[in-house]
Symmetry: C2
Subunit: 196 residues, 2 copies
DNA sequence: ACCTGAACACCGTTCAAGT
DNA sequence: ACCTGAACACCGTTCAAGT
């Protein structure tokens, strides 16, 4: 052994991230371990530390992918919606993604890392998501000044995020999962009524 | 050693929970371990398992306390507010509590346990919180029928929870922590305008 | 240069053995 | 009856040693 060079550094990285995602999707965050990832890759633990400085950095990389996938999901939903429905489609897609990928979604918002440099990258993705919602709101409510726009968009996003969060953690079950759409309508009608 | 009987079962339970809380408050959830709690109590790990079946059960008990403390905090805030301000006071208290007790608050909503019996108790506390908000909203908007009331209260609570969640996880820093009040005003004005 | 395997310091959980 | 201490099967992380 040693000096196998079966895979490039980039391939190893890709394998590590996709195996980590597989474990998270299948068994949840708690079931993930560096050793388990390494075994799934067909390598030893030590090799993982040639690619990532530590477990936190690996999870951060997973989160960057998830955030990008969420962003792409929103863009898709917006692209296939009429201008009137764009904002609702984006909000609905946000909640859908969380429900469809509960473990990965939770990791993005629940991982508290002490590495400011890497977590800034996640932060940038989060701000991108927010900017997207803000722009949709601006198109619908052109009369809002920039400060009001910002605050309304933030309140709106907090509401959508809260619904996704409570839903994914099972704290909203009593409301009936079929009621999710109704809650969303109430939120959008209250904060961003369509101009008529 | 053995057969010390320095403390009753109830005292041991109380010591375990308060030491666990101390560690969580000081160092976060990740720093907590059964061994660390036991050492802080002046006992061996094995003793902890005479009181709690496993770590999950202990954390659940911590969460029940936190949920009760949150509930009490809301009641306090409501009690010292004018009828007009009750709803805003409750929402503000929710966010305040999360910011003042970030680690404990996060544990309540982030702990995913597989024990349906115990987690049902947390669920009951969550529903109590929701019922509280619903009753405040009902007082303010008596014209809503029960279905609309339920949905509006749910959307409102999701919004408040989302603000607390994003704030505590540092995902809302760009909005400026001083803007939190503004976001809350936007949410309340949109979903629960005071009757005039 | 790349990778291994063993080591270290931790975990949660169990349980025979002591008083 | 109450509590200990050692054991078991796991962790994350490091690093000398092998090719």
């Amino acid at each position: 052994m040693a000096r196998r060079s079966d895979h490039t550094r980039e391939q190893l990285r890709e394998m590590a991230l996709s195996q980590a995602e597989a474990v998270i999707v299948r068994d949840g965050i708690g079931a993930l371990s560096m050793r388990k990832i390494a075994k799934a890759m067909g390598y030893t633990v030590g090799t993982l530390y040639l690619i990532f400085p530590n477990q936190d950095a690996l999870l951060l990389a997973v989160n960057l992918r998830t955030a990008d996938a969420l962003h792409a999901h929103l863009l898709d939903a917006i692209a296939t919606a009429t201008p009137q429905q764009e904002l609702r489609a984006a909000a609905s897609a946000y909640i859908d993604f969380a429900q469809a990928n509960p473990h990965r979604w939770r990791l993005v918002f629940e991982l508290s890392t002490e590495q400011p440099d890497q977590s800034a990258q996640v932060q940038r993705r989060v701000e991108q998501l927010f900017a997207l919602i803000e722009s949709l709101l601006a198109a619908r409510q052109p009369m809002l000044d920039s400060a009001a726009l910002r605050q309304t968009a933030a309140a709106l996003w907090a509401g959508v995020h809260g619904m996704a969060s409570l839903h994914v953690t099972g704290k909203l079950d009593w409301a009936g999962s079929d009621q999710a759409g109704g809650m969303l309508d109430v939120l959008l009608d209250g904060l961003a009524p369509p101009v008529r």
